[in-house]
């Protein structure tokens, strides 16, 4: 088991390095840097001025070296500007050095310096952490709503395969997987929050939920994300439940005269919940997608909203920070789901 986890961690590390390098490469392509120079410096810069601007800030050196600096395994770039004052990666405003304090040699992600956001004018790490907190609140309520609902639907549908209850619940879950967040969100807002229909039960935006979560401002975003994920988990639960219900030990219990209710709750449920656990864990990357859409639609300024802002405004270091976090979230959930699957299912022991 320890070896298995160790090997998975190794692959995970390699994947993280590859992915962050790809993001680093794509965000640091020349047109992006040119745009950065023009937005930071002057919109009417000539090509030579752009080159000089980039050169004076260390952007023209080889990409691998700069990636190393960003990670924090290579010493930060240093140089001298036109006035003769020393400049460098480790002297940038995001580090908030004291007057006269000597800058560190290494300053990268590993040292806790994630860069400085050009849009929000704040250190990337601070932004990412606060936004993650806001998204965490959203995700918590999504999970609270989605997981029990999905499991109940799946178990009710799967316990009597082919019954009318099964057919109708399966159709509901198919319909919910067919409704992406931007469709269900739009429909929910139009029905429950617009003046055209007139119900106005909830708010159409969740901006106020950042300070104070209430039923009125948080219901719609939570329901929107939960709906899309729910159908998939419910179908997986149903599939696993129908499989368990045909097992020998269930038949034995039935022949013994155990009541149907007891069979479902005591014998089938435990075994039927192994597969959905993995699925719920693997849903995280999808949920991340949903979070981006819903936060944009409802103007909830969390992690997904930050991703859109960073990507839309060419905020290179913030986008890098955001992608590091999202990639790590995806990989960690994959790892947890693998370990959990082995742990929960005694029949599977890795060779």
């Amino acid at each position: 088991m320890a070896l298995f986890i160790l090997r998975r961690l190794g692959v995970m590390l390699l994947t993280t390095i590859c992915l962050t390098f790809i993001v680093f490469f794509l965000t640091n392509l020349h047109p992006n840097l040119e745009k950065l120079a023009k937005t930071q410096g002057n919109m009417r810069m000539t090509d030579e001025q752009v080159e000089a601007w980039l050169d004076g800030r260390g952007y023209t050196r080889p990409i691998v070296v700069r990636y190393g600096e960003w990670i924090g395994v290579a010493p930060g770039w240093t140089g001298v500007d036109d006035d003769g004052t020393p400049v460098g990666r480790c002297r940038s405003p995001g580090l908030q050095l004291e007057e006269g304090e000597e800058p560190p040699r290494f300053c990268g992600v590993l040292q806790g310096y994630w860069g400085f956001s050009t849009v929000f004018k704040a250190p990337v790490l601070d932004i990412v952490l606060t936004r993650l907190g806001l998204t965490g609140v959203l995700m918590f309520w999504v999970m609270v709503l989605m997981v029990p609902m999905a499991l109940i639907i799946g178990i009710l549908a799967g316990m009597r395969e082919g019954s009318r209850l099964d057919r109708s619940l399966s159709t509901v879950s198919i319909a919910s997987t067919a409704t992406p967040e931007y469709v269900s969100g739009v429909i929910l807002i139009a029905v429950f929050a617009s003046s055209a229909v007139g119900l106005r039960w909830f708010n159409g935006t969740a901006t106020s939920a950042m300070e104070d979560v209430t039923f009125a401002n948080f219901t719609l975003p939570v329901v929107t994300i939960a709906l899309y994920g729910m159908g998939y988990i419910a179908r997986m639960t149903r599939a696993s439940m129908t499989e368990v219900m045909t097992a020998q030990y269930i038949r034995t219990a039935r022949l013994k005269g155990v009541s149907f209710r007891k069979i479902v709750l005591k014998h089938a449920l435990r075994n039927a919940l192994i597969a959905p656990f993995t699925v719920i864990m693997l849903q995280f990357p999808w949920l991340l997608n949903g979070v981006v859409i819903v936060e944009t639609l409802f103007n909830y300024k969390g992690f997904g909203w930050t991703l859109v802002q960073a990507a839309g405004n060419n905020d290179i270091e913030l986008l890098l920070g955001v992608s590091v976090v999202s990639v790590i979230v995806v990989l960690v959930t994959q790892l947890i789901s693998d370990i959990g699957y082995v742990y929960l299912n005694p029949r599977i022991r890795i060779s």
Partner: protein
Amino acid sequence: MEELSWGAVFAQIFAQFTPVWIGIVVVFVVSIYYKSRLGLYGKLFDSNIGMIGFALVLFWIFTALFADQIVTHDPLAQVSGMKNAIPGSPAPEGTEGGSHYLLGGDNLARDVFSRMVAGSTVVMQIAPLATLFAFMVGITLGLPAAFYGGTLDTILSFVANLILAFPVILLFYLLVTPEIVQTGLPSYMAAGLFVFPLIFLWVLLNSRFYTQPTKQKLYLSGVVLIGGLLYLSLISQDRTPLNFWPDALDLFDIPGGILIVFVSVVFVNSPTVYRIVRGIALDVKTRDYVSAAQTRGEGPWYTMLWEILPNARGPLIVDFCLRIGYTTILLGTLGFFGLGLPPESPDWGTTINDGRRLLSIYPHPAIVPAVALMSLVLGLNLLADGLREESLRD
């Protein structure tokens, strides 16, 4: 002119869709009549869910085909006075096309109904084709990975997992922004990804007709000539770094942005298809008929493409339907974030994005494409469910 009531609006919409209704009825009557001879497709008509799904999908296929007859107005034309008009509003005198905006006007005074119908053409052109390309990439890489195993499998699976670990929206933002398009990266990716269908067809025919040189030469030269011409016309685009092919031989130019959207959707879908194909092939590989083919002395590609692949078709067809739906959702996501497609494009995602700003006052411009997208994806999912049920019954 008077405003139409809801009943009249629906009656007129129903009438506008006449060619679609005729098409659906014809297909259903013919298919049910010849049901017993049509294999899996015929069996679909035994399942209610499958039939409903198929009808929904057919509805959108015919809507896309007959879009020019169904639209009441030019989907791009702006008519003054029709800004955010409510459904059933009469168009001013002298407007070209129909007398009313059946489903109202959007914030640029364009007809919502016509845009929704025109949008179906964009979606139905890109989604199935992109899914098909993703399947060809996935099959061409997944079969050898499962068949040979070893290092090839490890490397390919690692790359597939790498792409899958990316949040899709981040990937889209990284690939589809104008700055990246300027560097030509999507064009090079297109050049790389679109080779796979060619390789697939080449290997497919080559392995089959290896022993019949005349046929082999005929088919292979056909693939190279027709496929190659299509390939070169496809990847060589004006205003991108990859523009080398002479215009005289350039059969078609895909309008701005669509190629890039197409490439990124294929790119996102391929690793999942790869994983599915690899999984099924690993299972089928152990069957007796595969060993029989190998004992007979068939080459590895013949075994893969003519022994393993046909026996994996059931789950693959089901997944194909599901994946078209997922691709439609992805396309909508791209449109929703205003990526790739031009802002005036009538596709559903872009229209939803346009309409969402005034959602709480004028919901109709966003609701109409949203319901359209949902019904298409729902149809595809129901169809897949019906196919799965019927194929399991054998």
